[in-house]
Amino acid sequence: MKNYLRLNLSLLYWIFVAPFTGQFFKIAPVFRQMVFIGVRAAPMVALTAFSVGVTLAMQAAHSLESLGAEMYIPDLVMLTLLREMGPVLIAVIVIGRSGSAVAAELGTMKVSEEIEALQVMAINPVQFLVVPRFLAMLVMLPALTIFGNYIGILGGWAVCRFTLDFNTAGYIMRAVESADTWDLYSGMIKSAVFAWLVITISCNAGLNVEGGAEGVGQATTSSVVQALLAMLVMNAVLTGVFFFAS
């Protein structure tokens, strides 16, 4: 925990304070990480989001049909995706794919003395390794969430259009009317907070690996478990704050 807090403080220093003292972080590695963390995860995110959209619409159809309220299916798909399922499920995908990869990569660098070599070259590992990954995650997880939301809504549309009596315009109208901009923003805020948690937990696990290949394996597993737990608990807290506090 002490290491985790220290990493967060160090990150804040390198992002917000150091640039004013002339120590800018390099922007090229941020884009490289954005491709790795975000762009390459897009197909997986799309498949997951489409499945979720389809499932939500089918479940809603099943329940709402008996009440004669099929017209509310787009509402349910839209709101559930924007507020909950979008941010959470896409964070789960990113934790499994990119969070674990970051922990394993930094862990391997630690055990093969690469991190120590950086320090000896007077290159701060947080500035050189963590800042690009952090900024990339902070941009790409919300971006992936927006992308996933679109695909999920497309999944809902596919069910409504081809198995129920919706036409495309009707589905879009209903979906757009049901959602408020705040529903989208709340999902984005959740996504950004998840991004912070996921990448700091993964980097912290990687940077504190001890004991060779076995240590790297343990750190990777524990980073995934910790990030999932932290993300789900934080989701409950944020949902409480956004929708039930007022």
């Binding site: 990569e105 391997t108 660098m109 093969s112 003395e113 690469e114 120590e116 070599a117 950086l118 320090q119 000896v120 070259m121 007077a122 290159i123 701060n124 050189f128």
Partner: protein, 284 residues
């Protein structure tokens, strides 16, 4: 002792304990400008721990380490970075960044710490790689070259900023005899020509005697012998003679025969028996 130049490294009463075990026990020595100090000693005698204290990546239990006249044991990480810009370090494994090419690895310190143009940096990278006999390897990744080559790239990277002081951890292990001679010659040229100071941890006695201007032998956490290569070669100390001549038998207990093992068991049976009894008591 060579007292011609100013002291670049001053180590005073350096102690490092892991639990009750003192890995470094009251070590004191100086390294002067232009010297090549070779630190030798058996496996586990504290050579690597000493090196880590000299580069500031480990803090001692007590004692002091000064580099270029600045005490580094009390420094914060950001203060040590300033001192680290003045020295280079060659790691035993090379410690190249696997995600970067050979050229990018050598260029890394230059990109991070200088305002040189890309063309200038490329020129320096070519020059440094040429020095270690690796011209044309710029675009390969570390996993595409051999262990010895990685080490030479590590040396090129350590020399990228033209440091005043070079630390090398086993610079010649894994190199063929010709490449060992090339690396030795390079170290000699750098220490003589540009007054660079070198601290080399080595097991390779041929190489050690070739490059050293002074040698220290560590054993049991303290200095067993210290002197010029000639003094070490003629040392009356039996441990030194056993080590430099590579003899299996001698005062350094490295290898126990079966008979020795039985003797040890007879002399010190109690901890084992006690442990076994406790174990049986808990788990009948």
């Amino acid at each position: 002792m060579n007292n011609k130049g100013e002291a670049i490294i001053e180590v005073n009463n350096l102690v490092r304990r892991f639990g009750d075990r003192a890995v470094l026990d009251e070590l004191s020595f100086n390294v002067h400008r232009g010297e090549t100090l070779v630190i030798m000693g058996g496996s586990g005698c504290g050579k690597s721990t000493l090196l880590r204290h000299l580069i500031g990546s480990m803090k001692p239990t007590s004692g002091s380490v000064s580099l270029f006249g600045e005490e580094i044991t009390e420094m914060k990480e950001r203060e040590i970075e300033r001192v680290r810009l003045r020295f280079g370090m060659l790691f035993q494994s090379g410690a190249l960044l696997a995600s970067l090419t050979v050229g990018e690895n050598v260029a890394l310190p230059l990109l991070q710490h200088t305002n040189k143009s890309v063309d200038e940096i490329e020129e320096i990278v070519r020059e440094k790689l040429q020095m270690v006999g690796l011209t044309g390897f710029e675009n390969l990744k570390p996993d595409e070259i051999s262990g010895g080559m990685k080490k030479r790239v590590g040396l090129a990277r350590a020399l990228a900023l033209d440091p005043e002081l070079l630390f090398s951890d086993e610079p010649t292990s894994g190199l063929d005899p010709i490449m060992t001679a090339v690396v030795d010659q390079l170290t000699q040229k750098l220490t003589q020509g540009s007054h660079m100071t070198a601290v080399v941890v080595s097991h390779d006695m041929t190489s050690a005697f070739r490059i050293a201007t002074r040698m220290i032998m560590l054993g049991h956490g303290s200095i067993v012998a210290e002197g010029t290569p000639e003094e070490i070669r003629n040392s009356p100390n039996a441990e030194v003679q056993q080590f430099i001549n590579g003899r299996a038998d001698g005062p350094i207990p490295l290898n126990l025969s079966q008979e020795d093992h039985k003797d040890h068991q007879l002399v010190r049976p109690r901890p084992f028996r006690g442990a076994r009894l406790r174990f049986h008591h808990k788990n009948p």
